[in-house]
Amino acid sequence: MKEISITRVVSIDLALRNTANAFFNELERYKEKNITVNFKGVKSISRSFAHQYLENKKNSEKIISETNIPDNVEKMFQVVENPTRKYQLVDLQTVCIQTL
């Protein structure tokens, strides 16, 4: 079993999909099969990072678990795992298109 602090490897702010990928590339290099990711100290997480983290976890052959997940991170994981319909903010049938 190996424990990794995500704030040490990535940042206290988990922002970009490519950093989630880089983090998992790092995890895959460890010889241990069981890895615990410690989220202590994480200040923010984007939806994109959360999605990419969970996708990489699903596709990894390692057994990955999490500890010390802050509430905001837990909420974002739940949002990603329970997707709802997307906002339909633009309906081109009903708006007037202006030429500039």
Partner: protein, 174 residues
Amino acid sequence: MQHLYKLGDNGAKFGGEAAFKYILNELVDNIYEHSKFTEAFVMAQTYPKIKFIEICFFDNGITIPGSFNKTGKRVDDTTAIAEAINGESTKPGTERGYGLGSSIQLATKGLNGQVLIVSAGAAIQFNECQTPTVFDLTEQKRLNGTLVSVKIPFTDEQVDIYPYVEGRPSKVLK
């Protein structure tokens, strides 16, 4: 990203840390994910007298319509931007495509701000009521890249981002 957060004082005046960072993170991530840029910028300016901040994201990449075309989806520029806003991703997977729409929702409804998106030959602007105004750009005004401008008025309120991030308008209370 840490430099950007510091410039905005971690969102202290712009809806709180979570809201400020969410918008920055999602819009910067879109540049990395989709634009194939060679140059990209994030610019921000605060206007203390009229009390708002404008944050501008620009990349010189393939544009939103160009990204759609690359995946074989040939639509006009206006439709491409509208579809990107509505959550159509040019990458596989139904759980993608939330970033732009949820950022607009958060910036406008959550923070009473405005958002302008210009890419190739079209532009869409949202006011604080979230009403879109759609523009077809003439050749002279065409942008070789993508620009997203977000204007947020100063607020001391800490906005809960999750109703906006979840993608369910019915859960948004404002």
